[in-house]
Symmetry: C2
Subunit: 470 residues, 2 copies
């Protein structure tokens, strides 16, 4: 060390920032590298993580899980009704987005949507009556994800609602989702006025039967080619579905015109879909759920098979731990707000729609969708950066979903909890923003990320699940 | 100079490359800058150019011309018939793409399309009969551009053909274009088989009346907002019109369903448009012609108001020289060929569709359309570079046509012959490629550029046109 004082120091400081601050205070200079030990500094998590990384059991399980996700072939083949198609939807059952949550703990928009659905079902005549029923435990609640279903935002599915039925023809699993209502004052954002319920009735009585007639004539529609095409047309297929909705309408309108549906109903169907660029979202979501459910339950796999938010907690499911949810408080989303609203009005992150990101779309495919930044904020360069960053935390990439601006690179897919915890890079999620109070509706859209804590929690249980074998 | 031999030389050589080659042969090193004097080395052109650059008359004229282009508002308001709507289309008149060209000088695909149109009109029963009529001077030919019209590829318009009527509501000028037939074996690429003529008949008897009924109910459709939206969805609106065609179909289908058109005709209209991603091209072109014709004939303006190819010559029109064409041999296009075909089979560049580039779309807006490279060749990075390069040769940029991948920058527009000649940067043109023989059809698509010579030729006449005033 004798030479040290004679030369000027060149210091790279890794970890705690105040060491480099001290050097600078003393007149020296230091480059600070922002770094934390893997596992957020928790020694048990770090040990479990170390045992999982390069573990041949996990690698083999992930290969199986990713291949099942990648080979899935979701097709929409019919329109059903929740009570007839979704298991256990008889009686007063309402499904919601995210991990299970009790009525008393629900956020404003979810309560608002449930009250609207209760009146829509005719179980109550007024929203006040509906609220009493919910408080008195007269309604059974469950998570969409527990019933082969997904729902955007509040994600409310009640028994009379029509649902898309999407079948994975490769592995046989099925996923359901309601029909998209459009933007603004709609049930899924917590609005429940007469206008909202009237639209739901029209969707049940006119739209759904017309769509069903159309599908009878089109035959099953494969959803992955349609999504792939939309990615070439500026959609990321979560918050931008303008192209996908148009491509779907082209197929449906011809099917409807070949059916015996009334010309007036065909016209109102076409007008509704043509005026709702988000219409395809409710097919994008069950398509993604179909792909990911195929990968769920592979022992030892660290692949994330669902990210879903109930408006209070952000929840994550992992393939190798099929019966568990890993939850952490849902973040409040920053983004672009409609005139008159701000972050202070926003509910926390909500909805099953992060299933699109889990499948390599949405925030993961933002590079395909420079125009999305005018809806969710940021710049086209940010959008490219998000898609590139997701490569660090995924098992593979989806060769069927290519990103033109990245020279047609496949979209990063198959989130690996090990890589999220090891790198600290969090999955990006694009999302709509609901007002925090019941009854208001959408107030904006933005970009957020999954909380690290959900992934941290899963590390030790996954390690325990395979430790008998390792 | 005494110190020269003692130091190693650092040479930058501008212009003739062999000077730098000599230095390298002698063991030295030199950086060569590829440069030519403006005007391609012609002293008279260079002098005229020097007098035009920063000339207040030209600057003021270009401001007027560009403003007329930029403020134009093309709307499609009806479907007409060439003989009823286009001036002087009675009798045996056929319009073609590009500058005027005599039958004997026409290329194979243009001849093939004319023969097909002659049989379609019933003037002849066979293609052989039709050929005799053309040779005997029994058919009058003229350029589409002389009759307020544009046509893609061969650009054939015969009297019975239905035409879109596009009106510039800001300045009152009108532009016509036929309906798009789809890709492959179609008249505009020189094919003329029974299948081609049968389709033309169906377009006249079924498609056009159904579209007309639809337009009666939609009312006039503004084309610039539709183009602007398509640019956000991966179209460059010349060789990629997938989004624009879908957006148009959404409007037309609702108009048709509100009309008393037969449901079967509505269905065949919807199927045809849904299956033809190039359908919007024949509206994009007259929309661009409407914008540019508004800027044509401004004395002293160096703005290009048309680029058009007749399959033999590439032609350019300049605002300040309204009655002239500046032509130069059309290049053979390199690109992506359909299986079984190569550059050896290709006709030279053909079609009025370069009107889209003249208006700041197509090759000028390629940055909006990374997916286009899978049709015309190159990489998404090349597409960005093309849009950026066009900024060097244009008067302004179109704030209504924004390019998402360039952070929503407006598309470069208003080609200035002075800047083309001064920089040597040539306008980029995306284009389909026809087989050089009559009757075959499309064999590929690619990227080319306008020949410098067209712009060089225009410099002295423009200078002469204002020299009385300068």
């Amino acid at each position: 060390m004798p030479d040290l004082p004679r030369e000027s120091l060149k210091v790279a400081n890794v970890g705690l920032e105040f060491f480099s601050e001290n050097i600078e205070t003393a007149g020296g200079s230091a480059i600070h590298v922002d770094w934390k030990p893997p596992g957020d500094g928790d020694a048990d998590t770090a040990r479990a993580l170390a045992a999982l990384i390069n573990n041949p059991i996990v690698e083999a399980a992930n290969e199986v899980a990713f291949d099942r996700y990648h080979s899935a072939n979701p097709v929409v083949d019919s329109i059903g009704r929740a009570r007839d198609d979704i298991p256990g939807m008889d009686g007063r059952t309402i499904l919601h987005a995210g991990a299970p949550v009790a009525w008393k703990d629900m956020c404003g928009p979810m309560k608002g949507a449930i009250l609207g659905a209760t009146v829509y079902e005719g179980w109550a005549q007024t929203l006040a009556e509906a609220e009493k029923m919910a408080e008195n435990g007269e309604i059974t609640f469950d998570s969409c994800h527990h019933r082969n279903a997904v729902g955007p935002m509040a994600g409310i599915i009640s028994p009379s609602m029509p649902v898309w039925k999407v079948t994975n023809t490769e592995h046989g699993n099925i996923a359901y989702c309601t029909l998209n209502e459009g933007l603004g004052k709609v049930l899924r954002f917590g609005a429940n006025s007469e206008e909202v319920l009237k639209r739901l009735n029209w969707m049940e009585k006119v739209l759904a039967p017309t769509l069903a007639s159309a599908l009878d004539n089109t035959g099953p529609i494969e959803l992955k080619p349609l999504i792939a095409q939309a990615l070439q047309m500026g959609d990321e297929v979560h918050n931008r579905n303008a192209a996908a909705s148009s491509l779907l309408l082209k197929k449906l309108i011809i099917g409807a015109l070949e059916s015996d549906a009334a010309q007036n109903d065909i016209k109102s169907m076409a007008s509704f879909i043509a005026g709702n660029d988000h219409f395809f979202l409710n097919l994008s979501m069950p398509a993604c759920k179909c792909m990911l459910d195929a990968a769920h339950g592979v022992a030892g796999s660290s692949m994330v098979t669902a990210m879903a938010r109930n408006g209070v907690m952000f929840g994550v499911r992992v393939s190798g731990l099929p019966d568990m949810w890993f939850t952490s408080p849902a973040p409040v989303v920053d983004g672009l707000f409609f005139p008159g609203y701000s972050r202070d009005d926003a509910a926390a992150d909500i909805g099953d729609s992060a299933i699109t990101e889990t499948a390599g779309l949405g925030g993961f495919a933002m590079a395909a969708s420079p125009a999305i930044v005018q809806f969710v904020g940021g710049s086209p360069a940010d959008a490219l950066a998000q898609s590139l960053a997701m490569r660090h935390i995924t098992i593979g990439a989806n060769s069927q979903f290519t990103l033109p601006s990245l020279d047609f690179a496949p979209s990063a897919a198959g989130i690996d909890i090990r890589k999220v915890v090891d790198t600290g890079i969090l999955p990006t999620v694009n999302t709509g923003i609901a007002h925090k109070q019941a009854g208001v509706g959408q107030i904006g859209a933005g970009i957020t990320s999954a909380p690290l804590d959900c992934f941290l929690q899963a590390v030790e249980p996954l390690h325990n699940s395979i430790s008998g074998n390792s």
